[in-house]
Amino acid sequence: MCDHTNKNIYLPYLATVEEVIDETPDVRTLRLVFQDEQVRENFTFRAGQFGEYSAFGAGESTFCIASSPTRTGHIECCFRSVGRVTEELRRLEVGDTMGVRGPYGNSFPIEEFFGKNLVFVAGGIALPPLRTLIWNCLDWRDKFGDITIVYGARTESDLVYKRELKEWQERADVRLVKTVDPGGNGPEWDGKVGFVPTILEEAAPSADNTIALVCGPPIMIKFTLPVLEKLGFTDEQVYTTLENRMKCGLGKCGRCNVGNVYVCKDGPVFTAKQVKAMPMEF
């Protein structure tokens, strides 16, 4: 019914929920497998691209594709249950059907990162857009230099991908610095306590031959960019992804623009240089 030669650009692919993982009390990961065999085999994407996910009867929501393009056969999305669509998606169980349109938007220029050190800086629910790239890089580990991940959330329970954080922590070829906001740490907490920008400054990764990838709430980004600058990063060395409300994802519906930049087409991945050239409207 819904093959990718279809002319209706608004028609989603159907996908089956293969696994449901609760990341935090209100954040959930869904692992999806496309129902159409052809789509399953031919669906490819790049780290950083996003999709439009349907809960039929409720509508569509926009999230990044959170799994790595190197892990084929399924895709994952990760969302916080806050609105009509996400609440409906949260109600889905293993075996249920949902819709996916995509992949849309640009992606991280991973080939340009070959041979460089990478610093990932993420806050809260903003790890998924970087996690796709992190796994992509870890699967191609020999192509990159040092990999540092600075990840923070309000409290311990707000950290997403807890199992993977453990895995990264145990890996010798990754440096993971995890933190929670003051007051968010429990008695067992083995990470840092403090806001992401502060912890990043403490961790002080070298800017030499390094790319920084930042994703988080606007307030975190606002305070992280000056820290990176202090550490010697130029605006071309810093990448981020913008999140705006979207409906079509196709450059038509007209709501995701920041100035004349359509986030859905020209983004969501931008360098800090590009972001700074945009009007303050995100």
Partner: protein
């Protein structure tokens, strides 16, 4: 191809088309309001009033289904909408400001991903433009480089003549085909002169200068003074011939329903509101700025066209008298 068609033959043509099963859309009165709507008979057409909503509706409906869904247990079945089912349409009596809007919209609906809902309707519709004979002081087509005799967007263009009937010129194969299919109703062009056309009073804007100012003044105190009075409705966007923002929603029950695409407006606070509560355009002047920017800068940047045809509808219908012609004129003088 130039021809003449009498008023009576025009009506005969439309009635014939209707009888053949073609959808004929023209200005008609609906409960006291002039609107572009399908005619049951040519006599319903009212040629002397600018319809309240623009002609974009024939290509980009107020609300249209884009698919249906049906759930059964864990299974979902989707049904696509077959664009081949869109009816063949002749859009008649279209004002130059409405006709010129359609090629402007082609740009956004056909760049990159192709919106077949728009493009298929476009393919199946013949636009018969009509020169404009009356303007009020809200009209400003001449200010944005169009005119009451502008033929852009029309497949066939009618100009009313002093001795009655219309001079009729085709501007595309579709227009020519319409004439050729009903040659008996057309005559060779005569000597009658065109009636005097409308004369909008607004001076031509220097659109380059307007854009240059907008390029530099995203942040400017004048946005507040321009738009403080804006109450945040969508009237301007919905009556505009070129505003094309839309929303996608699901409507139906748990079991089955439809996904629909319907008009949306940048003036609504909800338009850009994130689920998190954050809103990039959190105040009305920011939303109004987006409207002006989109029309005279962003669309220019992206597609090299101005997103305004000077129909004046938003000026006439703004609840609080916001006058885009005045705003742009002031900008061009800065």
């Amino acid at each position: 191809m130039q021809k003449f068609i009498s008023e009576q033959n025009l009506h005969t043509l439309l009635d014939k088309l209707i009888a053949e099963g073609t959808r004929v859309v023209a200005p008609r009165m609906n409960a006291g309001t002039p609107l572009y709507e399908p005619l049951k008979s040519a006599s319903e057409m009212v040629a002397d009033q600018l319809p309240r909503r623009s002609g974009k509706e024939a290509f980009f409906p107020l609300c249209e289904d884009i698919m249906t869904y049906e759930k059964e247990g864990q299974k979902v079945t989707l049904k696509d909408i077959d664009p081949a089912r869109f009816p063949e349409t002749v859009l008649v009596g279209v004002r130059p400001c409405d006709a010129a809007a359609i090629p402007v919209l082609d740009a956004v609906f056909s760049w990159d991903y192709k919106d077949e809902f728009f493009l298929e309707r476009r393919k199946k519709t013949t636009i018969v433009g009509l020169a404009c004979t009356s303007a009020d002081d809200a009209c400003f087509c001449t200010a944005v480089g169009l005119s009451p005799s502008e033929t852009r967007g029309s497949d066939l263009f009618l100009t009313p003549l002093e001795d009655g009937g219309y001079a009729c010129e085709s501007y595309s194969e579709k227009g020519e085909a319409l004439i050729k299919g009903h040659l008996e109703l057309f005559a060779e062009p005569g000597n009658s002169r065109a009636v005097s056309l409308a004369q909008p009073q607004t001076e031509k804007f220097d659109l380059k200068k307007v854009k240059a100012w907008l390029d530099e003044h995203f942040e400017d105190s004048s946005w507040d003074s321009i738009a403080t009075r804006c109450v945040g409705c969508g009237a301007c966007a919905f009556v505009c011939p070129v505003c094309h923002c839309f929303d996608i929603v699901d409507e139906g029950t748990e079991k089955s329903g439809k996904r629909r695409k319907n008009w949306d407006a940048c003036g609504f606070w909800k338009f850009t509101h994130h689920a998190s509560g954050h809103n990039p355009r959190d105040q009305q002047p920011k939303r109004y700025r987006n409207r002006i920017m989109h029309k005279f800068k962003y669309y220019e940047d992206k597609f090299g066209q101005t997103l305004c045809t000077g129909c004046g509808r938003c000026i006439r219908l703004c609840p609080v008298g916001i006058d885009i012609a005045q705003i742009v004129e002031e900008i061009s003088k800065k």
